[in-house]
Symmetry: C2
Subunit: 247 residues, 2 copies
DNA sequence: CGTCGTATTGAATGGGTTCAAGTAGCGTGG
DNA sequence: CCACGCTACTTGAACCCATTCAATACGACG
């Protein structure tokens, strides 16, 4: 029951290396985690509120999100997840899911039993700390989204999110030159930012007409990083990326 | 440099016991953590954005909050903290503060060096796990506040917050009979919920006229828990309190 | 008893929503 | 290769929840 394919764990290694250096031994150990891969179609639940999972789910390819549905069908998306992320890492310590997790695109995921994760964190406390650290960065991102939803205009919220996603992708080697994948719909964006898709649409048009971004197909290009990050009041400190300070 | 007064660490023990059982040995070890107490007046910063703290700060008495100031003086309060909380626990793993922490009332705090915290978590992995778990519950609360700010009406946001704070206080033995301290101003509430104090005021009046709450001086009474939690769509699952299920 | 922070009230304004209709893009199968 | 059908995107106009600005009342404390 070892990895069917060593490549399946490469995104996790890249992610962890962006948090803390890994020894050769640690990398080898990660490669031997007992995982198995699965392919999921777009818009498919991975976990649902109230579930009690016994395994973690690493995103190998594609995008996923956490979300919650409220009365009346309102949806709040709480985070977007990209290859290398383990969106349900928290389930190691919190039995019950307080939100759902779903794919946004077609996804390849790797399933890792809790048991294996726990053993691993004990045998390699350095990696365990990196994992804890990662959940703390996630929390910082939640705080920032809370701030956006509470105190920023629609224009600033969208700008801020684009800057954030670009940097996260760049950090794990999935973007450069201010160009990245953005395979979500305007409705997904609206539900992440506490807006309506109608208003997201109008605001994106303003953003395009000011030549801050291009977004066609599933590719986002940030045409003017300075102006966009200024509009979003974006300060990357909260992402805690090594060697990256305030804008 | 041991605790000047064993009582100073009692709130931490009560909090940790609400997360996981503690052995007698663990309790004794906590009592011997090298802390020293400080008293702070209301509205005083404990830590500021960009600080690089080398110690943690346990709230022994009084209320504190995390917050961030945006351009134009807008403020977002990201959490309220009560006795037993260690609002800067994250600084163990994240060097730079991405937000500030301040007192809301007169506070007694206990300062604990990072070093001592880390040693302690290594010697008592059970307690270390409880601490990690606590940061994950904090993250769940951030997600819930994000959801409030994004998708709930002013009325529901206030109702939701009151239910949450009451339960948190009750869990550590600081409230019962639907009555608790709420030593914050309407402006603080507004900045936590992404509203203006004017609108908070009007919404509180509606809430009072429906006889859901009484809030005079610094004491909140939830007169109708059922109605209030329904109005706030409050489901305590995200607080991950042992033995407490959905409403 | 004055003073400063907090709470309250009124009226005008506005950012974002709602509802409803129409258009473009794209994968699929005939 | 085009017709079909679905989903995502776009547009317009009316509406509303919450903000803004400004003024007044309260209340705790020295």
């Amino acid at each position: 029951m070892t990895a069917e394919n060593p490549a399946i764990l490469a995104p996790l290694i890249r992610k962890l290396e962006s948090i803390a250096p890994l020894s050769a031994e640690e990398k080898r150990a990660i490669q031997h985690l007992p995982v198995h891969g699965r392919t999921l179609t777009a818009h498919q639940d991975i976990l649902r509120e109230k579930d009690r999972p016994t395994q973690c789910c690493l995103i190998v390819d594609g995008w996923a999100c956490r979300y919650k549905i409220l009365r009346g069908g309102r949806r709040q998306i709480m985070s977007f997840h990209i290859p290398g992320d383990v969106p349900d890492l928290q389930s190691l310590h919190l039995q019950v899911m307080d939100h759902s997790i779903a794919t946004l695109t077609r996804c390849t995921v790797a399933v890792i039993p809790h048991e294996a994760m726990r053993d691993f964190a004990l045998r390699f406390p350095g990696v365990g700390n990196a994992l804890w650290r990662d959940t703390l960065v996630d929390a910082a991102i939640f705080r920032e989204w809370m701030t956006s939803n509470g105190r920023r205009s629609a224009f600033a919220r969208i700008a801020h999110l684009f800057c954030e996603m670009y940097l996260k992708l760049e950090t794990v080697g999935l973007a450069d030159a201010h160009r990245c994948e953005m395979p979500v719909t305007q409705l997904d964006l609206a539900d992440a930012l506490g807006l309506t898709s109608v208003h997201v649409n109008r605001t994106l048009q303003a953003m395009r007409s000011q030549e801050l971004i291009t977004w066609r197909g599933k590719t986002l290009v940030i045409e003017d990083w300075r102006a966009l990050s200024a509009a979003g009041e974006f300060d990357p400190t909260y992402l805690h990326i090594e060697g990256r300070a305030a804008a």
